[in-house]
């Protein structure tokens, strides 16, 4: 009796690397949870600068949402072995990831023009928090872009054809994760403040 159960467990088990990613995502969530709780704690104290988010953040939100769609389609075409379509979609996804980072940066320069200083002398923790939290998120997105490019170009240098979608699935899951993370941060900064 025992055997049957354990056999079933074995076949249903998730790939260890995928599981590692899920634990890692939990770890990243804790990091941002720590930072946003610090934000909430600090906000309730005196000397807190109120300012509105740059409008371009809406554009970057749309960009990152759209990139989630493209990576999903890329994974689908990889599994269907439509390699031409897969390559196009991966290229678009990576481009959108970089575009997202650029848009965030433009948002910060906008803030700077309005007189909201993120870092340095005279900066308010309110703006510094925004800079650090979104900055760390952008770093995570860029990490995703690098991972995407590594498996994409890795396929060219590999002597054997790669049929296993595992590593692409891992990157895609991570990509959706940083997407959702941004939605959380965006909602947090828009509504909680």
């Amino acid at each position: 009796m025992d055997m049957a159960v354990s056999n079933q467990q074995k076949s249903g088990r998730i790939h260890p690397h995928k599981f590692t990613l899920w634990v890692a995502m939990g770890s990243i969530v804790m990091m941002f949870a720590g930072l946003t709780s610090a934000y909430v704690v600090r906000r309730s104290q005196a000397n807190w600068l109120e300012f509105s988010l740059p409008n371009i953040f809406i554009a970057s939100t749309i960009v990152i949402l759209f990139s989630s769609l493209t990576i999903h389609l890329a994974l689908k075409s990889f599994k269907a072995r439509e390699m031409q379509r897969y390559r196009t979609l991966i290229a678009i996804t990576a481009f959108l990831g970089v575009l997202f980072a650029v848009l965030q940066f433009i948002g910060f320069t906008d803030l700077h023009k309005q007189g909201v200083q993120l870092f340095g002398q005279g900066s308010n923790p309110s703006a510094s928090f925004l800079g650090i939290i979104t900055g760390l998120h952008v770093l995570h997105v860029i990490g995703g872009v690098i991972a995407l490019l590594v498996i994409f170009f890795g396929a060219f240098f590999s002597k054997t054809k790669i049929y296993s979608p595992t590593s692409l699935e891992i990157v895609a899951t991570y990509w959706h994760f940083v997407d959702i993370l941004w939605i959380y941060l965006f909602v947090f900064f828009t509504w909680i403040r």
Partner: protein, 605 residues
């Protein structure tokens, strides 16, 4: 049940597997076998030996500052020769050097020895062997984990040699001392290096922790259900979860600190006037308490990250050497779980005197005292495991019993300190030093020693010398109590921690002799550790050779591997598990290993 034996097939694959693993082994160069190894057993030894180097350095630092505390008006010319004119002018340790030594001692022992050295070693060594896996889920990440730790070690070590000295504001690195370069000499380059080392260390812990969790959950062999896991694995599992969830929060605290230090933000700084530069700082609106929240949200789970692996090791060693099943296996797992959950809910008990809201304080008192429940369950189960056992007093077993003794002694004072009203008096005194050194420092050290003595034959295929082990044990346990027990009295009398010289205080002059006594014992105990070091390194090459793969008649899977297991652990098929790890003294048999199928004549377990 009995059909499991019939289902046990696949012996035909043995030859194929042997060939595969043999092939793997023969082509290893020196570099890939000993340096950039991806074999979890080698990585474990790397962690262990690096941890031992740090333990010697960290212990030496404590001896140096204990010299100052015990003999404040005596001059030791040799110190000037060794440490130089800057650190020990005229044979006296300078105040800057004293604070640097205290800080580095704390950082090194907590993070580099008792986190990386302890769970790095035993998680790497035992998880694949005891769950029945050929290696970790990702051997490459595992190798990276060690090398990040190594890099952190190099950076931390280098901070000792910079001109302004290593960071000297306490291991907790509270701002503003840690955030302002001009606050103290150690806050300059020393603090930069401290932060870099700690950031690298966090990365190392995270990479390690991710691997441990996914290996335990995904790579167990056939039949190894979660409830058949040895308690070592359960303990290491909860340790890894604590690390993965709390280290990122510490990292975010550090990131804010780095911005305060280098990029002019004001997260932790507000309204500061520096006497060293005679200037008021422009920073406004920050809160130093915010750092304490972020730090202790890691800091408290961190003490369980240190103690849980020892609890696991001790449970396993105790059951094996008492020749009895561990008492209350499920209660042991449950209490580990309870401790892991409570670990995240008690951090503010480090902050009772920061002006914390008393109502909030009372909630944290309640949650803190709740930890006594799972702790007491564990102690009860260890004692009942020993009860009427057929005890084999190996050095590993002695250190395990010593662990329980230390855990009881130090745990009881935890109940005092957990009460916010008492904490107002005892906070930052020698009472707290005594408490956490006994319950966390020495107890975990004992768990680590127990683990090393017990698994040494598996690591190196030789035994350590028993006589040296006994001498080492008795000096260490007697010394540990003689060092830390008197500190309780000093603390109750209000003697604060971290002072440079107590002899100039009228209230603390009465403790001059006691401090001298403590320092002398500390020196002896430190010297006794060289017996262990000699034993360890001598036995690697000259120790008595192992003749049987299972020297302790133990049940767990690591003893089913060959004496010198290659990368992949089992030359043939991975053994299948048919029972829990604690079938000692069952049905008239002394022990039944986990891979033995359940016989028809066996009573239920």
């Amino acid at each position: 049940m009995s059909n499991e034996a019939v289902l046990h097939t696949g012996t035909g694959e043995v030859i194929h597997d042997t060939h595969h693993d043999g092939h793997h082994d023969h082509h290893q160069s020196f570099i890939s076998k000993y340096v950039f190894s991806q074999d979890h057993k080698m990585i474990a030894k790397q962690f262990l030996i690096t941890g031992m180097v740090w333990a010697v350095l960290g212990g030496l630092m404590s001896v140096l500052f204990r010299l100052q505390l015990g003999y404040p008006d005596q001059s030791f010319p040799i110190l000037e020769t060794v440490l130089g004119k800057h650190w020990a002018p005229g044979g006296h340790i300078s105040p800057e050097a004293y604070y640097a030594l205290v800080t580095t001692h704390g950082t090194v022992l907590v993070f580099f020895v008792l986190t990386a050295g302890l769970s790095g070693t035993f998680a790497n060594f035992l998880i694949p062997l005891q769950v029945g896996a050929r290696d970790m889920a990702s051997p490459f990440l595992n190798m990276l984990s060690y090398w990040f730790f190594f890099a952190a070690s190099v950076v931390m070590l280098s901070s000792i040699f910079v001109q302004t000295g290593p960071f000297s504001g306490g291991w907790t690195a509270y701002p503003p001392l840690s955030a302002l370069r001009d606050a103290s000499p150690g806050s300059k380059t020393g603090m930069d290096l401290w932060l870099i080392a700690m950031a690298l260390f966090v990365v190392s812990s995270l990479l390690g922790g991710l691997n441990y969790i996914s290996t335990i959950l995904n790579m167990r062999t056939k039949g190894m259900s979660m409830t058949r896991l040895p308690l070592t694995i359960w303990a290491l599992f909860f340790t890894a979860i604590l690390g993965v969830l709390s280290f990122p929060v510490l990292l975010s605290g550090f990131i804010l600190l780095i911005f305060d230090r280098n990029f002019g933000t004001s997260f932790y700084l507000s309204d500061i006037f520096l006497t060293s530069t005679n200037k008021a700082l422009p920073n406004e609106g920050g809160s130093a308490i915010l750092y304490q929240h972020l730090f202790w949200f890691l800091g408290h789970p961190e003490v369980y990250i240190i103690i849980l692996p020892s609890m696991g090791l001790v449970s396993e060693i105790m059951s094996t050497n008492a020749r009895k099943p561990i008492f209350g296996y499920i209660a042991m797992v449950g209490s580990l779980f309870a401790i892991a959950v409570l670990a995240f809910l008690v951090w503010a008990h480090h902050m009772f005197v920061t002006g914390l809201n008393p109502f909030l304080g009372s909630v944290f008192v309640l949650l803190t005292l709740l930890i006594a429940v799972p702790s007491a369950i564990k102690v009860f189960n260890w004692l009942t495991t020993l009860w009427r056992g057929n005890i084999r007093f190996t050095p590993g077993m002695l250190f395990s019993i010593g662990f329980v003794s230390m855990f009881i002694s130090g745990g009881l004072t935890g109940i005092w300190l957990g009460n916010s009203a008492l904490d107002v008096h005892l906070h930052d005194t020698y009472f707290i030093i005594a408490h956490f050194h006994i319950v966390m420092g020495v107890a975990s050290m004992f768990g680590m020693f127990a683990g090393i003595y017990h698994w040494y034959p598996k690591m190196y295929g030789r035994y350590m010398n028993n006589t040296l082990g006994y001498v080492h044990f008795w000096i260490t346990i007697a010394g540990a109590y003689l060092i830390f027990w008197p500190m309780h009295y000093e603390g109750l009398a209000g003697m604060p921690r971290r002072y440079y010289d107590y002899s100039i205080w009228e209230s603390f002059k009465q403790f001059i002799d006691l401090n001298r006594f403590i320092s002398t014992v500390a020196l002896i105990v430190f010297a006794a550790q060289f017996l262990f070091l000699f034993n360890f390194f001598y036995s690697i090459w000259k120790g008595r050779k192992l003749r049987t793969p299972n020297p302790w008649d133990s049940n767990t899977l690591e003893w089913t591997t060959p004496i010198h297991a290659g990368h992949g652990n089992w030359p043939g098929e991975i053994p299948e598990v048919h029972r829990w790890a604690y079938d000692y003294g069952k049905d008239g048999k002394d022990f039944i290993p986990q891979n033995v199928p359940v016989g028809a004549d066996e009573s239920q377990h």
